[in-house]
Amino acid sequence: MNCIQLDNTLPNVFLQRADIQSDIWRQQVCLEKGKTYLIEASSGTGKSSLCSFIIGYRKDFDGKILFDGKDSGKFKTADWVKLRQYHISLLFQELRLFPELTAMENVEIKNSLTGFKSKQEIERWFEALGIADKMSSPVRLMSFGQQQRVAMIRALVQPFDFLLADEPISHLDETNSQIMADIMMEEAHRQGAAVIITSIGKHMQLPYDKVFGL
């Protein structure tokens, strides 16, 4: 998949508002494979909603979202499943990890869908992010920052054309943010994928191709 096109898209909750000033809402936007984007926004401007619309979790928006020109409104269940397995990976703001599983199991449960990464590759990421000792710990016993890193690894263990990271470093220090950014960009480059990062202030220092104000 090469392009995510937002065609006059607007969340239904904003339909009554006339004063929409946004680089995304009610605009023609094309997000291209291979590029790096930053979407900056203040709270409540629909940043997570945008991620939910793109991943097909929510459909309460006006306008269209097209994948390579195909209207997502006409997608069937199987199309969305394929999209989530092979084309778009989302790092959720609320992480959506399974607290009763260990850190490794949380990654494995995703990796087992496609068998995309070997166990060694995954373990290397755990080490690089400084949580190798937590691999067998239940996620619920980890700090939010540690959980954020597990969620990042989980987002990377699948083939993707677009990686959406919804506030990926909100609870990380500078060093860990940089390590995470490096790992993320390395994997994105390997796959030739686009990276779309949302942020409400603190964001990864990356060579962005374009910065949108939501």
Partner: protein, 398 residues
Amino acid sequence: MKLVWKLLRRHISLPQFAGFFFANLLGMLIVLLSLQFYRDVKPIFSEDDGFIRPDFLILSKRISTLNTIGLGSVNTFSDREIDELKSQPFAKNVGAFTASQYKVSCSMGIEGVAQIGTEMFFESVPDAFVDVDLKKWHFSEGDDFVPIIVPKTYLAIYNFGFAQSQNLPKISEGVVGMVEMTISMRGNGLNEYIKGRVIGFSTRLNTILAPENFIRWSNERYAPDSDKEPSRIILEVNNPADDAIVNYINDKGYEMEDDKLDAGRMTFFLRLVSGIVMLVGLLISLLSFYILMLSIYLLVEKNTEKMRTLLLIGYSPAKVAMPYQLLTIGMNAAVLILAICGLVIVRSLYMQKLLTVFPQMQCGSILSAILLGLVLFVIVSLVNVIIIRHRINQIWKN
């Protein structure tokens, strides 16, 4: 899959599932047992086993008080009624009793001994229904001799009732056959005589029989204007245990001479009881199914967020539904297997008892019960699978 199961097995309530399991087991066992018992016991009453052979039934219409005083409906069978009876699937052969419509009296004596006489009557049935050697059973117009058949019970009544109490000699069938009777027939202005002799004794027909062509000839000669509709019917059936016969006869308001249809009534009763028991079993199964569905719904409710996350990270609804689907199918299969084991055990217990009473009984197979169990298993599992998938689809759509 292992991880998904680890995730989704949380919140499984063992007491709820055990409740379902045992209730369903009980229901299934009752359903299978009722069918098996019906199939095992039915041959005892039916023809296949030969305990009760094809048989003859004698039907008449009910005589009410109104009939006695000359009112009420006719108690003879019309041609239409006979044809209808003939067309019933259980009827193999139907014959009408024809009665003599003129006055008959008979006097007898063994050569030289004083004669005794009595008023009497004749009836005839088609020859196929006569259970006596037919060699001497013929009459043609102009013959001066008519063969007669009397019920075996008459001789028994005389020998063991009358003769015993009156100190009279007992008579054998052979002796009766030697007695020559003079039969007087009066009617239509004629009074004629014919010789007669008892040529046999019938256990089937409780009447004084003369050949059918004799009755036809004599009725035309002595009572040409009389009503010829029969008041009794003889019916040959393939299987007297067939409860359709009892139902038909009851519906029509006919009466039967004896209780040969007890087997039919028993079969009907057996089917009724088995049916009720099976219904109870099905009801228990249905309730257990309801418990299972409630448990699954609760489980899905408690695990909704996890399932939603699985869907969002790329799991298909089919994959998310599979653990619970396999769980229910597994439980249903375990119920089926245990129910069949239970069936085999219980059956061996009652078959021992049945075989002591009916040693010639053949042990049938439990194939049909297993088949029924399989059908129930497939239906219940299919409904489970569909409902679970439906619930996951609802989560997919939010």
